[in-house]
């Protein structure tokens, strides 16, 4: 499968080189798209947490310490998922 990344490369001479370059280009493209989607998901999730935490603090200011703790914990958990996607994308680059 030929894609834009391959067309931007210099012309490869032998067939085996082209196959390897195709696999590499497609793997990197897949990793990039997957990483972007993961970051979109994380951004939406953490944005929701932030919004609802601020709303909750506005409704009940004396609970702001508890709410802040829960918000940080949940945001770190969601960020962990997005960074797991980052690690697997790095794996695609190295393999």
């Amino acid at each position: 499968m030929v894609n834009l990344l391959m067309m931007l490369q210099d012309g490869q001479a032998s067939g085996a080189d082209m196959v390897a370059a195709a696999k590499n280009a497609n793997a990197l493209l897949g990793a990039g798209i997957g990483l972007g989607l993961a970051v979109i998901g994380a951004g939406l999730g953490i944005g929701r947490i932030g919004g609802q935490a601020v709303e909750a603090i506005a409704r009940q200011p004396e609970a702001s310490g508890d709410i802040r703790g829960a918000m940080i914990l949940t945001a770190a958990l969601i960020e962990g998922v997005a960074l797991a996607a980052l690690v697997f994308a790095l794996l695609f680059k190295l393999l």
Binding site: L8, D10, A76
Partner: protein, 276 residues
């Protein structure tokens, strides 16, 4: 793809991965000894090992000096001040609001372990921000070992607190009030899920800490690499300004990730203690 410019990928990899050479200013290099082997496994020290030992030593020095200051001023009837006050604030915060709050009434037994976890990870993360420093927690093996200690603590403490039958109930999970075929079906479905859950939690701890530490360094190194690719002064000025901002963010992430690791470990320990 032919690169006409500097090899940024290689530079990033060289700066974040482990190596057998310690580096310092003015091109100073120290080649660490190789060939140490224990039962056929290569245990020769690498850069990350040296920085882990340094972090452990710094934790010891911090606690000893802080404790000495607190004790001396307590004997005079005054509250601690200066460095001792900072150490006391952090220790009390982790002990009360993280360990005991999440584990419950048996929390004091686990407080030393949670405190060790927090301070060791914090110092490992911070040492990576110094010039010529390396982030030991940016190594998958280091965070994996820390998560392994957490896993062993969680499971063994759960086994001791709940007894063998109670511990088995956390794996073969049957909701209340279901008997007969329903209970067997639920057990068959929930047991693999519970086992996978037990394995995934330390794995997530590993990956979260490793990825947070490494990603920050990647961004900083990539931005500095931009300077070498473009080779122009305005790009350098903008890049350095952004890198300074990213390093402040890295400082925040270092504290936050140490806190999150300690917090999640104590939450998991608490979940096992109060499973019934």
């Amino acid at each position: 793809m032919t690169t006409q410019g500097p090899d940024i990928g290689g530079m990033i990899f060289r700066h974040t991965a482990d190596s057998r050479v310690l580096e310092g200013p003015f091109g100073w290099e120290y080649h660490l000894p190789t060939g140490w082997s224990l039962f056929g496994v290569d245990v020769s020290p690498t850069k990350h090992v040296v920085f882990m030992l340094l972090a452990a030593f710094l934790v010891l020095v911090t606690v000893l000096i802080g404790g000495y200051q607190i004790r001396r001023r307590h004997a005079q009837g005054k509250g601690p001040s200066g460095f001792g006050a900072a150490v006391e604030a952090l220790v009390l915060f982790i002990r009360n609001d993280v360990a005991i709050a999440n584990i419950g009434h048996g929390g004091e037994k686990f407080a030393p372990y949670i405190l060790t976890l927090f301070f060791f990870i914090l110092y490992c993360n911070l040492l990576g921000l110094f010039p010529w420093g390396a982030t030991a927690t940016g190594n998958l093996a280091v965070t994996g070992a820390l998560a392994l200690t957490a896993f062993v603590t969680i499971e063994v403490s759960g086994f001791i607190a709940l007894g063998p039958k109670g511990y088995l109930k956390t794996i073969v999970f049957v909701p209340e009030g279901m008997t007969g075929i329903g209970a067997v079906l639920m057990a068959l479905i929930m047991t693999p899920i519970e086992i996978i859950g037990k394995i995934v939690k330390p794995f997530a701890l590993t990956l979260r800490l490793f990825a947070n530490m490494t990603a920050g360094h990647f961004v900083i190194l990539a931005l500095m690499g931009l300077v070498f690719i473009f080779g122009s002064w305005p790009v350098a000025a903008g890049s350095v300004a952004f890198v300074v901002f990213m390093m402040c963010l890295e400082l925040l992430v270092a504290f936050l990730q140490a806190y999150i690791f300690a917090l999640l470990t104590s939450v998991f320990i608490g979940m096992m203690q109060h499973a019934h």
